[in-house]
Structure formats: structure tokens, C-alpha cells
């Protein structure tokens, strides 16, 4: 499904990725493990097109992702540090994302919104949220569009044990239904 061919990326002098090759298939669950600064997030961001690699190629379902953007409709991404417009409420953020991706979405998966109890605090502004609640919003957004690939960047960092369990169960459930799950972690 995702094939990474020989990608390299340096940030000025620091070489974050050096000729990386990866091959991921449907239904797999893959963990990227490594110390801080080993290029896990850079690799994920390259797959998402947020970072442009210096050399190499990334194929999604056999097509290169250079100059393409439609493939991102099939990816649910949960960033390490979710950053959202400060003066929007949680409800507005969800509505906006639904509005922007509407044309391509068949069914919404709002299970996590309910399980995390986010629907009860829909009118809270993003700026007032704690780090953990922000993570919950990121997680709920990643799963919302029933994407066939889930990319989770340190999903449980900052979540309390209870929420962490909810998220883990959800990840296992989605993986069993045939979705590709990519997780990074440093432990």
C-alpha cells in the first residue's frame, strides 16, 4: 500500500533520513521505534507530504505522491503535538474538517468522540484545552473519516491511563478490520 524508496532528508547539516526503504501492506500494524531525533516524525511527515524529501520516492497504492494530494483522503493522521486555530471551539474544528473533506467521505466514525466525552465540551475553545484533551481531539479527528491508513505519532503520550486504554482498544479494533496502522513511539 505504501512503498518508500530510498528517501533522504537533511535539515541543513543534520541528516534526519538516510536512504530509507519501507514497505507496508493493508491490515498490518507497524511500530516505528527509536530514540528522540531519529527521524520517526520526519518519515511520517514525508509520507503525508508535509516534508518534501531531498531524494527518493514514496508510492501510495502504486502512484507517486509527488504533485498528488487526493491520496491524503485515505489517511487519518494524529500529530505528536496537535496544533489547532486558537479561537475555534472543538465543535467548530470538527465541523470545519467535516466540511472540508465532505465530498470524499461516505460514513463518519464518531466512536472516539463519544468515548472520550468530547461531545459534551463541544463549545470549549481550543486555546483553553489541556494537552491531554488536545490529544483526544487529534485522535478523534484521525479516526473520524474511516481512513484506510492510520498514522499515529506517539498516540498515547500525554493521555491518562483510562483514555489511553480507550485509544488502544480502538486501534486494535480498526487494525482487525483490515486497516494499516503506523505508530511511532520511543519506548
Amino acid at each position: 500500500m505504501i512503498r518508500v524508496n530510498n528517501i533522504s532528508k537533511s535539515f541543513s547539516k543534520f541528516k534526519a533520513l538516510d536512504s530509507i526503504n519501507i514497505h507496508c501492506e493493508k491490515g498490518q500494524s507497524i511500530a516505528l521505534i527509536g530514540p528522540n531525533g531519529s527521524g520517526k516524525t520526519t518519515l511520517i511527515k514525508s509520507i503525508l507530504g508535509m516534508v518534501v524529501p531531498d531524494s527518493g520516492d514514496i508510492l501510495f497504492k502504486g502512484n507517486t505522491i509527488k504533485k498528488d494530494f487526493h491520496y491524503r483522503a485515505e489517511i487519518g493522521y494524529m500529530p505528536q503535538i496537535g496544533r489547532y486555530p486558537d479561537n475555534m471551539t472543538i465543535g467548530q474544528v470538527f465541523d470545519m474538517m467535516k466540511d472540508i473533506r465532505k465530498a470524499k467521505v461516505v460514513s463518519l466514525d464518531e466512536e472516539l468522540i463519544q468515548n472520550f466525552g468530547l461531545d459534551k465540551i463541544y463549545d470549549k475553545r481550543m486555546r483553553t484545552l489541556s494537552g491531554g484533551t488536545r490529544q483526544k481531539v487529534s485522535a478523534a479527528l484521525a479516526f473520524l473519516f474511516n481512513a484506510s491508513v492510520l498514522i499515529l505519532d506517539e498516540p498515547t503520550a500525554g493521555l491518562d491511563p483510562l483514555s489511553s486504554e480507550i485509544l488502544k482498544e480502538k486501534i486494535i479494533k480498526e487494525n482487525k478490520s483490515g486497516k494499516l496502522v503506523l505508530i511511532t513511539s520511543h519506548t
Binding site: F11, I75, Y84
Partner: protein, 255 residues
């Protein structure tokens, strides 16, 4: 094209700065026109204020807004959207709301007191200046990651266009006062959108007689319809060129 644009305009309206800016322009233009008995004089005073304030607010507001938008851009970039589309929506949102603020703030009073061709040209140049400085600020922000540095750059750019450029031109004029520089001056004025707008409007008023021989040469060129179209074209280039460069840069930017 419209969804991201819609969210950006709503967000700009929620941020009250643009509303205050509109109100400020309205109060200034209204008082200037009611103080002066001769509306042409009022127009002249208003022109000087517009040429100072409009670029300043446009460049500073857009720069700060784009930096504050970085979360929003990051959120959008991992969605199935083209980068070019996100960047151009941001530009459109800023350009439309700032031109609209100018249209309401100054346009209405100009239309009431001076509904002539000169008044119309002034409204047009004011809107163009707003858009030009939005485009310039986008070029500045795309190449600077640090917010404080970016805002400093924006202020310097404004200073350059509003003051330093004129100083350099004056210096050049004095140094080469023995040579005929009139034709060259016309080309040089094209390198500064503020100067070009000033000349375009001033030549419509009768004060150009005070500008001496250079003024006469300017009038011969910019006073004609052809010259007017050329200056509009150059002003349009000031929007298009920075916008194309910044879009190109944004497409390969790491976020």
C-alpha cells in the same frame, strides 16, 4: 476554492482589527472632506494618508495573521487539499477582506464627496495597494520561519517603500542633477508601488503643475489613457510576481 476561503474570511472578521481599520479609515476620510471646503484639497490630504496607512496596515496585519495561521495551515496540509489551493485561499481571504475594508472605509466617503473619475481612480489604487502589500507580506512570511524576524522584515519593507526609497531617489537626483533624468525617473517610479500610485492620482489633480519639468514629462506619459493603463499593469505585476514566487516557495516548504 471557496471552503477554506470562507473559514479564513470568517476568522478575519472575528478578529476585530479589520473592523477597527475600516472605522478608522471612515472617520479620517469623513473628517478630511468636511474640514476642507474644496473637495480636491480634501482628496489630496486623504491621498497622503492613504499612501501611508493602507500599505502599513496591509503588510503588518497580513504578516501577523499568516504567522498566527500556522496551526490552521498545518491542519489543512495533511488533508486532501492542494498546497497551492491553501496558499491562494489565504491570499484571497486577506486581499478580499482588506480591500473590502478600504472600499467601505474610504470608498463610500469618496463617492459621496468626489464622485468623479479622479475619485474612482483613487479607490482603485487604494484597493490595489492593499492587495499588493498582502502579496508582499506573503512573500516575506514564506521565507522566514521566526515570527519576530518576519514582523521586523515586514516593518522594514514598509519603511523602505514609504520612506527610504524616496530618500534614495532624491539622493540620485541630486548626484546626477546635470543629466536629464526625467525618462529614467518614470522607470524608477515603477519600482515602488506607493510612488506609482501617488503619481497616478496626483496627475489627475492640478497640483502636478508644481512639480516642475519632471512633472510635465510625467503628465505627458501618465496623464494619457495609455500611461494610466501601463501604470495599472505595473501595479498588477506587483501583485502577481510576489504571489507566484511565494506560491512556488510554499509548495516545497517543510512544515
Amino acid at each position: 476554492m471557496n471552503k477554506v476561503f470562507k473559514y479564513i474570511v470568517i476568522d478575519i472578521l472575528r478578529n476585530k482589527t479589520v473592523l477597527f481599520y475600516t472605522l478608522f479609515l471612515f472617520v479620517v476620510s469623513f473628517t478630511l472632506f468636511s474640514f476642507e471646503e474644496n473637495t480636491a484639497k480634501g482628496l489630496l490630504s486623504l491621498l497622503n494618508i492613504i499612501l501611508f496607512i493602507v500599505p502599513l496596515i496591509s503588510i503588518i496585519f497580513s504578516t501577523i495573521y499568516i504567522y498566527n495561521c500556522s496551526e490552521f495551515i498545518e491542519l489543512l496540509i495533511c488533508q486532501p487539499l492542494k498546497r497551492k489551493y491553501i496558499w491562494l485561499s489565504l491570499f484571497n481571504g486577506l486581499a478580499v477582506s482588506l480591500s473590502f475594508a478600504f472600499l467601505i472605509g474610504c470608498g463610500i466617503t469618496i463617492l459621496i464627496y468626489e464622485p468623479t473619475a479622479t475619485g474612482m481612480i483613487m479607490i482603485l489604487t487604494g484597493c490595489l495597494l492593499s492587495v499588493i502589500f498582502v502579496a508582499i507580506s506573503m512573500l516575506g512570511t514564506v521565507s522566514t520561519r521566526d515570527k519576530a524576524k518576519g514582523i521586523g522584515k515586514a516593518i522594514l519593507l514598509w519603511l523602505y517603500f514609504a520612506l527610504i526609497f524616496d530618500g534614495l531617489v532624491l539622493f540620485l537626483l541630486f548626484q546626477f542633477s546635470e543629466y536629464p533624468l526625467e525618462k529614467l525617473m518614470m522607470v524608477i517610479s515603477g519600482f515602488n508601488p506607493i510612488d506609482l500610485s501617488r503619481i497616478t492620482v496626483l496627475l489627475r489633480l492640478d497640483v502636478s503643475a508644481l512639480m516642475g519639468y519632471t512633472g510635465a514629462v510625467f503628465k505627458d506619459f501618465f496623464g494619457t489613457t495609455f500611461g494610466f493603463i501601463i501604470s495599472l499593469f505595473v501595479l498588477a505585476l506587483w501583485v502577481i510576481i510576489p504571489l507566484i514566487i511565494s506560491t512556488k516557495k510554499f509548495q516545497t516548504k517543510d512544515l
